[in-house]
Amino acid sequence: MLEIKNLHATVDGKAILKGIDLTVKAGEVHAIMGPNGSGKSTLSYVLAGREGYEVTEGEVLFKGKNLLEMEPEERAGEGVFLAFQYPVEIPGVPNTTFLKEALNSVRRYRGEGELDAMQFVKLVREKTKLLNMGDEMLKRPVNVGFSGGEKKRNEALQMAVLEPSLAVLDETDSGLDIDALKTVADAVNRLRRPDNALLVITHYQRLLDYIVPDHVHVLAGGRIQKSGGKELAEELEKTGYAEFTAGAAA
């Protein structure tokens, strides 16, 4: 589904990613772990197409298509979803309005018909039920005044409604207490299907207790230093990243 080959990227002229290779297949969960400043968030922004993140070398294929030449909204239409580390507030725009606009934009891109108000309400009800969520967040303006946990649950709800093929979770655990973490992880797990994939970016191992990865990669100094199974995450929890940061600096 996703093939990243020798990806180099700069931010403000500074090289952050220095040759990343990664292949993610449908149905898989990959975790990318690494110390602060290793390029984890940069990787997620490069995949989503954020302005200011310049790819200098390498390629990214998504379902065989060149992802890097698409606009952010086209990537969304193709099925790339980024769960933000810091979900953005949009004052005055009710959550439902935002969800409906997003869903219908994506559906238009995919050549599917738009949903009318009734169909949309029905769909959202199904999804909130699936995620064990109430609908109290729906009428409030997007992320405005939401607690950390609510913001992340809202990201999960958007993911549920948009049904992406690849979801990139950028430090979804940051700012969450253990209960909120469980709730969000549970929501994400409910959305797993054989035909979609997850790329979980995290600093700590604890999220991976709940969203269990098939593969774990250590990102440091802009490169993947080591890959393994889920046991690698546990190992890192004990040893830390020192080994890799030292290596990267050398």
Binding site: A48, P72, A76, P91, G92, V93, E101
Partner: protein, 483 residues
């Protein structure tokens, strides 16, 4: 969203401004220029009584002596008043249409194109429309239903003929002819406009609406609207405007006067979409309008809501004079400027009576190379015990070549009055746009969404069918403002 995208596409297809077409219709036009003969011509055309002609001439003579105002922030070359026509009317076989059946089909077609069908069966249920084309009112719908309720809704020319006592009593009583240069010009040459009278205790059974259309070239539009809500009555009035796309600037100097007596309420909503000029700033309407309401009675209320997206220059301050004790004035405004548009708009709340309250919510959105100013006056008189005002001005900037300014004037002569002013300026954030785009919205849809959210408080004040229209307009008027 679907509707918005569709509209955006339609507009693109029509070279951006979808109301920019011209109706080819035979018109009767007064000679170019402005002098006493032209004013006599207009007055004669309308078979006006002597007192009105005298009033016009008095206004004209006063106008000649008035200097052009210079305090505004907007900039434009000096107006050449002699290089314009002051009267243009579609030629009709008789004195004017008596009913819709007699209205020239071409005119009906024009309004169809504008999305304002005048045939009653097609109208939005519950909205009566008066359509003003260039200088004259061409049709008023739903007359019968309104008559039964005792509501008078007609063109002001008709009101002068049929209800002279009301017109004579109230015309110029809120905006005197010498009020300002543009209002004075309007008093001299106004050609038509709407007249509304709601009798005592009547809640007007439907929304009243006027649709203004400038068609002829080099023609100014000087309409005059007079609305009187007698004791205990209520009316909601909507106003929409469009004009063809032309290279020269056209002057629109209207006057609107509202009078609310004891316990009466007037809600006045405007969606102003005059042609704004092209991307280089060529052409467009100069929208220099004087709107003022007098809360004469106790417990009366006047509420202005405006969505200003069009015009090369918008220069207007819908105001309230709060004379009656406990009267309430409200001003809700969205002003959007793009490309080279300029707006200097706001309100005046004059508190005279006891316990008078006013509320001002102004949202300015500037994009392109445009410039937007909120200018508002809150004046509390010495006798306005317990008066209260709350003002909130928010500006949103899109891009880095536009400007937003807030100029509040507060004059308080009463120690116990409370005046509050809040203001914010923000930029549409890159984070917000990226977030929306990551969820699948195009950049333009993302801007429209964020801006509509920013304007929500004001949008909610609009009657339902107007709000939908206004939301679409927000998207359209900001087209090309990013990227």
């Amino acid at each position: 969203m679907a509707a918005r995208v569709e509209t955006v596409e339609q507009v693109r297809a029509l070279d951006k401004y979808k109301y920019g077409f011209v109706t080819d219709i035979e018109a009767e036009t007064a000679p170019k220029g402005l002098n006493e003969d032209i004013i006599r011509f207009i007055s004669a055309k309308k078979a006006e009584p002597e007192w009105l002609l005298e009033w016009r001439l008095k206004a004209y003579r006063h106008w000649l002596s008035m200097p052009e105002p210079t305090w505004q922030k907007v900039q434009f070359p000096a107006l050449d008043y002699q290089d314009a026509y002051y009267y243009s009317a579609p030629k009709s076989p008789a004195d004017g249409p008596k009913s819709l059946d007699e209205v020239d089909p071409k005119l009906l077609e024009t309004y169809e194109k504008l999305g304002i069908p005048l045939s009653e069966q097609k109208l939005l249920a519950g909205v009566a429309v008066d359509a003003v084309f260039d200088s004259v009112s061409v049709a008023t719908t739903y007359k019968k239903t309104l008559n039964e309720a005792g509501v008078i809704f007609c063109s002001i020319s008709e009101a002068v003929r049929n209800h002279p006592e009301l017109v004579k009593k109230y015309l110029g009583s809120v905006v005197p002819y010498g009020d300002n240069k543009h209002a004075c010009l309007n008093s001299a040459v106004f050609t038509d406009g709407s007249f509304v009278y709601i009798p005592k205790g009547v809640r007007c059974p439907m929304e009243l609406s006027t649709y203004f259309r400038i068609n002829a070239q080099n023609t100014g539009q000087f309409e005059r609207t007079l609305i009187i809500a007698d004791a205990g009555s209520y009316v909601s009035y909507l106003e929409g405007c469009t004009a063809p796309q032309r290279d020269e600037n056209q002057l629109h100097a209207a006057v609107v006067e509202l009078i609310a007596l004891d316990d009466a309420e007037i809600k006045y909503s405007t969606v102003q979409n005059w042609y704004p000029g092209d991307e280089e700033g060529k052409g467009g309407i100069y929208n220099f309008v004087t709107k003022r309401g007098a809360c004469r009675g106790r417990n009366s209320k006047i509420s202005w809501t405006q969505v200003e997206t069009g015009s090369a220059i918008t220069w207007k301050y819908p105001s309230c004079i709060l004379q009656g004790d406990n009267s309430v004035g409200e001003f809700y405004s969205i002003a959007i400027t793009n490309n080279f548009q300029q707006a200097d708009t706001g309100t005046k709340m004059i508190h005279l009576g006891k316990n008078t309250r006013s509320r001002i919510i102004a949202k300015g959105i500037s994009a392109g190379k445009s410039d937007s100013t909120y200018r508002g006056l809150v004046r509390i008189g010495a006798k306005a015990e317990g008066a209260r005002n709350f003002t909130q001005c928010d500006s949103l900037l899109i891009g880095d070549k536009c400007g937003a300014h807030t100029v509040p004037y507060i004059e308080n002569k009463n120690r116990r009055a409370i005046v509050e002013h809040e203001a914010t300026t923000s930029r549409i954030s890159e984070d917000q746009l990226f977030y929306c785009r990551q969820r699948g919205l195009s950049e333009e849809d993302a801007v429209a969404l964020v801006v509509n959210g920013f304007c929500r408080e004001v949008m909610q004040q609009l009657p339902m069918e107007f709000a939908v229209e206004a939301q679409k307009l927000v998207g359209i008027s900001l087209e090309g403002s990013v990227g």
